[in-house]
């Protein structure tokens, strides 16, 4: 994430071949970033963009939790509340979590497979620069006539076909985000399949690269389906089609099928790169190679394939035939098997290892416990008769925050603390990092654990007001949320302190880290690395 250290290590000698920087001097100032085709610059921009969106989406969550602190309507109007839940979800998913892991991919994949850069550096630049306009559209939607579209991040018809102009801005933003993701994914697949250094066979790749290869295929296969769904919404709104309009022969339930055909793979698009980061961090701090590497690859691939066959577990209550409910229930519970394989492999990696508990490892362990808990509640939800009871309650909200916040977000924190020394050449403050972990862990659970109880007691999601018996748990959850939000400012401080004044990091900062960015490249990694492929045994 450093900007200052690049120049010092930028040598002309290694800048030849097909790299776009080959002939020009590196521009300075804003142009350096706007025009950059360097995978490290682009990775840095993705990560900062992601963190900015995390703060914007987080501010929206604070508004939601402030309103829900007490029963009754105190702070915002219900329409605005609905808009907040909608854009909080969209911004966290498409603006914070996904770009964070694309940022990791950009920084790490070329360095881990011994490639000089991504396969298509210019397209890489475009992929990133599509994101800020999309984010601005989502924010601008708040100021459209009638306010933001309070339709939920799932954007179900017929609400969306009737919503105000904000919906059009939102649809356009989703189109742009989709294009960015698809281009990014094509870049990643091509880089991994075509640009590995000699000797770096697929089955020798660090697991992080494997998880991104699989995720990128998921993205190429599922993002276009979402683009199709929102395109249909758009033509229903303005061009007289009736895809989802019952009066014209369409069916709003069809929207849900198309959306969740994208939507379930999407949750694995978020989770699988997180698995990849954890699979790097746990072996490093256990000082043992990853247990069951091959089974990890196969488990990830089978999760990806299965994820296309379970979408209707989000739709048990739409009136499906019982046979279909049974099919989707069994298919969903099946996913627990490869996921279990992964969890057991991580645990087995730690078995008899010489463990140390630096911040990345703490976040990885937090991930391991809490993601697994989220997986358990997912299993509960996969059971049709149970889900019919707790669908669209706070139980669901608790479930997906365990997998997305304690899962994906904790994994991103683990990855950032783990690779910061390699990226910036400086060490972060270990004490403050540990504070960030413990505060996040505690406040996360205060926020979301009680939401299980709220859901089981019947509190519906996406409501600005609620019955009195839910008051205590909601107050607790809101206090937790404010604490969680504040703790993330500490994270910002730790990162800035590391970049500006952290002590110098070593090439192999972590004793147990063994992928080639640690063994073959100095810290910070030079601006151009592996211009000539490394020699791998």
């Amino acid at each position: 994430m450093s900007t200052a250290t690049h120049d010092a290590t930028h040598g002309h000698g290694d800048a030849h071949g097909h790299d776009d920087h080959a002939h020009a001097h590196k521009p300075t100032g804003a142009m350096r970033w706007i025009g950059s085709t360097n995978h490290k610059d682009i990775g840095t921009m993705y990560l900062w963009f992601s963190f900015t969106m995390f703060l914007v989406g987080g501010a929206m969550a604070m508004i939601i939790r402030a309103e829900l602190f007490q029963p009754g309507l105190q702070i915002v109007r219900p329409e605005f509340f609905n808009s907040m839940t909608t854009y909080h979800g969209l911004i966290m998913v498409f603006g914070a979590i996904m770009p964070a892991f694309v940022g990791f991919a950009n920084w790490l994949i070329p360095m881990q497979i011994g490639a000089p850069d991504m396969a298509f550096p210019r397209m890489n630049n475009l992929s990133f620069w599509l994101l800020p306009p999309a984010a601005l559209l989502l924010i601008a939607a708040q100021f459209a006539p009638g306010g933001g579209a309070g339709v939920g991040w799932t954007m179900y018809a017929p609400l969306t076909t009737q919503a105000g102009p904000a919906m059009d801005l939102t649809i356009f933003a989703v189109h742009i985000l989709g294009m960015s993701s698809i281009m990014g994914s094509i870049n990643i697949i091509t880089t991994i399949l075509n640009m590995r250094a000699p000797g770096m066979t697929l089955m020798k790749m660090p697991l992080f690269c494997w998880t991104w290869l699989i995720t990128a295929y998921l993205l190429v296969a599922s993002m276009p389906v979402l683009a199709g769904a929102v395109t249909m919404t758009l033509t229903d709104r303005h061009f007289g089609t009736s895809f989802f309009n019952a009066a014209g022969g369409g069916d709003p339930v069809l929207y849900q099928h198309i959306f969740w055909f994208f939507g379930h793979p999407e949750v694995y698009i978020i989770a699988i790169p997180a698995f990849g980061v954890i699979s790097q961090v746990i072996p490093a701090f256990s000082r043992k190679p990853l247990f069951g590497y091959a089974s990890m690859v196969y488990a990830t691939a089978s999760i990806a394939i299965l994820s296309f066959m379970v979408w209707a577990h989000h739709m048990y209550t739409v009136g499906m035939p019982v046979e279909a409910q049974l099919f989707f229930m069994y298919a969903t519970t099946l996913i627990a098997i490869p996921t279990g394989v992964k969890v057991f492999n991580w645990v087995a990696t730690m078995w008899k290892g010489s463990l140390t508990f630096e911040t990345p490892m703490l976040f990885a362990l937090g991930f391991l416990f809490l993601f697994t808990l989220g997986g358990f509640t997912g299993l509960v939800l996969s059971i049709t008769p149970v889900d019919v009871q707790i669908h669209d309650t706070y139980y669901v909200v608790a479930h997906f925050h365990y997998v997305m916040v304690a899962g994906a977000l904790f994994s991103a924190f683990a990855g950032i603390y783990f690779w910061l020394p390699k990226w910036t050449g400086r060490m972060y403050d270990e004490t403050l990092g540990k504070w960030h972990f413990w505060l996040s862990l505690i406040f996360f659970n205060v926020t979301f654990f009680v939401q299980h109880f709220l859901g089981l007691a019947g509190m519906p999601r996406r409501v600005p007001d609620y019955a009195l018996q839910f008051a205590e748990f909601n107050a607790i959850s809101s206090v937790g949320a404010f604490g969680f939000g504040l703790s993330q400012l500490l994270f910002l401080y730790v990162v800035l302190k590391c970049i500006t004044s952290g002590p110098k990091a070593e090439q192999k900062q972590w004793e147990g880290a063994d992928s080639i960015e640690w063994t073959h490249l100095p810290s910070p990694a030079p601006y151009h690395s592996f211009a000539t492929p490394p020699v791998l045994k």
Partner: protein, 195 residues
């Protein structure tokens, strides 16, 4: 591979993956006809249409083990109205919904408003006749020579004592003095909507 070869291979890969993305975009739209067909074949779209199964729906409140005979009687009190039930009696199970009809005709030379007053035999039976709709809920206004058919919808409460097998429901029409004529019911009756 030298850099040139890699570049070619990369663009081939780019083309292949773009085609995959386009195909998946098309797949989203292909789900539209596919979904229609699927619902047709599995009969899901018929959910809202009446089908064989729906006529089998039974009312568990009906006491099939008993029959009760309902007899009807109609009188007028000092009015030139001809008033009669269209069926003398019906046999029903307690708990079962029944509809019967009565007819009135104004044989007088002017418009008149009447109110029907029910009575029951045996008298205790009154508590067990649950009327959902009755012409006696309203005043009836009839022009000279006008005829009207009027339904009564009722259910016999299954709690009806076991020794009661026959119930008589009797109505008598009384003339309503001009001062007591209710605007709404008279108007309702006049346009023939009142039951």
């Amino acid at each position: 591979m030298n850099p040139g070869q890699t570049e070619n291979a990369n663009w081939r890969m780019f083309a292949r993956l773009s085609v995959l993305a386009l195909l998946m975009f098309g797949f989203g739209f292909a789900m539209v006809p596919y979904y229609k067909k699927f619902c047709e074949v599995t009969g899901i779209t018929n959910l809202l249409q009446p089908n064989a199964k729906q006529s089998e729906i039974t009312n568990s409140q009906v006491d099939k083990s008993r029959w009760v005979t309902l007899e009807f009687d109609a009188n007028t009190h000092g009015m030139p109205w001809q008033f009669a039930p269209l069926q003398r009696s019906v046999r029903v199970h307690p708990g079962e919904m029944t509809q019967v009809e009565f007819q009135i005709k104004n044989n007088g030379s002017g418009a008149l408003v009447g109110q029907a007053i029910p009575s029951y035999g045996p008298k205790q039976g009154a508590a067990f006749v649950k009327k959902l709709e009755c012409f006696c809920f309203r005043q009836q206004a009839l022009a000279a020579g006008e005829t009207r058919r009027m339904p009564v919808q009722l259910v016999i409460d299954p709690a009806l004592p076991a020794n009661v097998n026959t119930l008589t429901l009797s109505y008598t029409f009384f003339e309503v003095p001009a001062a007591d004529v209710k605007k709404s019911s008279a108007a309702g009756a006049a346009n023939g909507k009142a039951g």
